[in-house]
Symmetry: C2
Subunit: 364 residues, 2 copies
């Protein structure tokens, strides 16, 4: 088995950790060595992922921990809520598991966010390990320490910054990923080009078909480069005071789409993809980027099989939904706009300009 | 108005803050200057405290913030749960309040713990200020950054370490405190003698009547000294890895009493007072302290009008309840025991010895 690619995430206070990226990592005993000592490992996963990988992970962890438990949550963004979180607490407390417990998040971004948040607040903090099984989770949730649940009035509104002990991104788990979710994961990979690395955007355009065919070498590069870029940004701004906001390119409109349709109707990556196209259009309207960039991004999103046309919720509804977004500061709606290929920043955009884009794309 | 006593809490990463202790602080404009800039202040309080102090605090804060909101929760430990926390989130999100919001915890320990936890996890963290109006909250919740809610299976099982921007401990607010709650607050003050400061134990014995009579000078000294001792311990161990555990003297049995009777039946301070007497008895049984110490502490607790006799829940129930306590590590029940006057440490105690104490005090 080849040694995995490793991206080291550097953090203060002994919180640095590794992301290991490669094929076959789930069944590699090395993946599970050197983690925090604990009496019990609790795997948190969902109904879809459990039958695929839970038994194999259990088997590996039984070689390390005295006891291995499994908590299976319902699948889907619509279950990323307090009820699901409380199922984890009910298990932990029902089994009288104390602070010598380590949680393993086995699944996609929803499982990662919820398990990380559960770890952050169970007894004021226990360690956790990410085992992302979707492309989105491998490139996005692996870095940054963002954990959260949704609230009926907004996505990820309740959460914490909390770092995993390690991330094991086994590319083989992507073989079972539904086509639609693979494409959704590509949205976050595409994102890193315009905001941080023009050469990576070129690379994605060349290798998009290989990525869609789940070529392991292409996936390994895309995941590693995405994690590197995100780590670079996050290391300069762990608590999202400034620079880190650029990672939310496409997310302001994306979150509005998700909230407006009800969580789960569109996948997060689909909403972000569409949001990126509209944010590119905003970048053009305020004079930062040429029309050719909007068209280039729109075509790439389309080639990836992702939506470029937002749902028709009406301009007022969009504006209302975006105003509750965490990036909104005291009323003014701010967007991550592309300022040059490979560079982005936060910009306040007048409601009238936002409305123009919404109308142009059939959202209003 | 005399300058308030100030205890500075030193923390890394620009999180240091002041505890201001004195009479008349609520109506002193200086108390509310120099806090984090924000668009909106949200006062979180309860039905009991709101009619007494909310309007005065609102008035002060209106001089500083563009908008001041009030969230009134039900009163009592039995409401220290997710439902109450969610009332805060419903308000914040319903009003589309973003990260430029600062929360003010106006009330006792329950309000402080819940508001602090809400601040810790709302949009992954907004600033908050403690305005403790009970003696317990002034000496206990002011220092240490512990925030939490209860779970049906255990007290404070879900929470975070999160520090306030400032603590304003107005001793005048203690004038409206019910006698029973004043006495409960004294329990945590008494605690600091045996575990950290033999001279302070002497001082409390001499000034107990003045404290019970709500003498402002005596209260100021007791609150300041308690905060100083706690700050000293916490500064050496912010995340409760070791030393800080001594602050839980009386709490292992105390938590079992609270959980066993149902939260709210006994006040936290009452349960801790009784728990201290039993922990003193355990200290004697394992050979650390003489019988005279147990009797001295028992008498002081009794003079303070606090319970020295635990409810009869049965030894098995106590052991079961204590095993889920956060200090329990992988099965063995550990107690904070007094090792010498002014010094304490964590000790594993055999179930048989615990049972002896429970039987001797009529708990079994």
């Amino acid at each position: 088995m080849p040694a995995p690619d490793t991206v080291r995430i550097h953090l203060p206070d002994a919180r640095s950790y590794d992301i290991r990226i490669g094929a076959g990592l789930l069944d590699d005993a090395n993946s599970w060595q050197g983690l925090p000592k604990a009496a019990t490992a609790v795997i948190v996963t969902n109904e879809t992922v459990a039958p695929l990988y839970a038994e194999r992970l259990c088997g590996q962890l039984r070689g390390v921990y005295g006891r291995v438990d499994l908590v299976v949550l319902p699948d889907g963004e619509q279950h990323k809520d307090w009820n699901s979180l409380n199922q984890v607490f009910d298990h932990l407390l029902g089994q009288a598991l104390d602070r010598k417990t380590v949680l393993f998040a086995l699944g996609g971004g929803v499982i990662g966010d919820m398990t990380g948040f559960a770890a952050a607040i169970y007894m004021r903090g226990v360690p956790f390990v990410q085992v992302p099984t979707t492309l989105l989770a491998q490139v996005d949730s692996s870095v940054g320490g963002k954990t959260a649940i949704n609230h009926p009035l907004g996505k990820n509104m309740v959460g914490a910054f909390y770092q995993p002990e390690r991330v094991i991104a086994d590319l083989d788990t992507l073989d079972t990923l539904p086509e639609r979710e693979l494409r959704a994961g590509l949205a976050e990979i595409i994102k890193y080009g315009p905001i941080a690395d023009a050469a990576f955007l070129d690379w994605i355009e060349v290798h998009l078909d290989a990525l869609l065919a789940r070529d392991k070498a292409a996936l390994a590069h895309a995941v590693r480069r995405s994690c590197e870029i995100k780590a670079d940004v996050v290391s300069q701004d762990e608590r999202e005071q400034g620079l880190r906001a650029i990672l939310n390119f496409g997310h302001t409109i994306g979150h509005a789409i998700e909230a407006g349709l009800g969580y789960g109707a569109w996948l997060h990556g689909e909403a972000v993809a569409c949001g990126m196209v509209l944010a590119a259009d905003l970048s053009r309207r305020v004079g930062l980027m040429p029309e050719s960039f909007v068209e280039r991004l729109r075509r790439l999103v389309e080639r990836a099989g992702l939506p470029t046309q937002p749902p028709r919720l009406g301009a007022d509804r969009y504006l209302q939904l975006m105003r509750v977004d965490k990036k909104a500061e005291s009323g003014a709606i701010r967007f991550v706009l592309v300022e040059a290929l490979g560079r982005a920043g936060l910009h306040s955009v007048p409601d009238a300009v936002i409305a123009e884009t919404l109308v142009a794309y059939g959202a209003a």
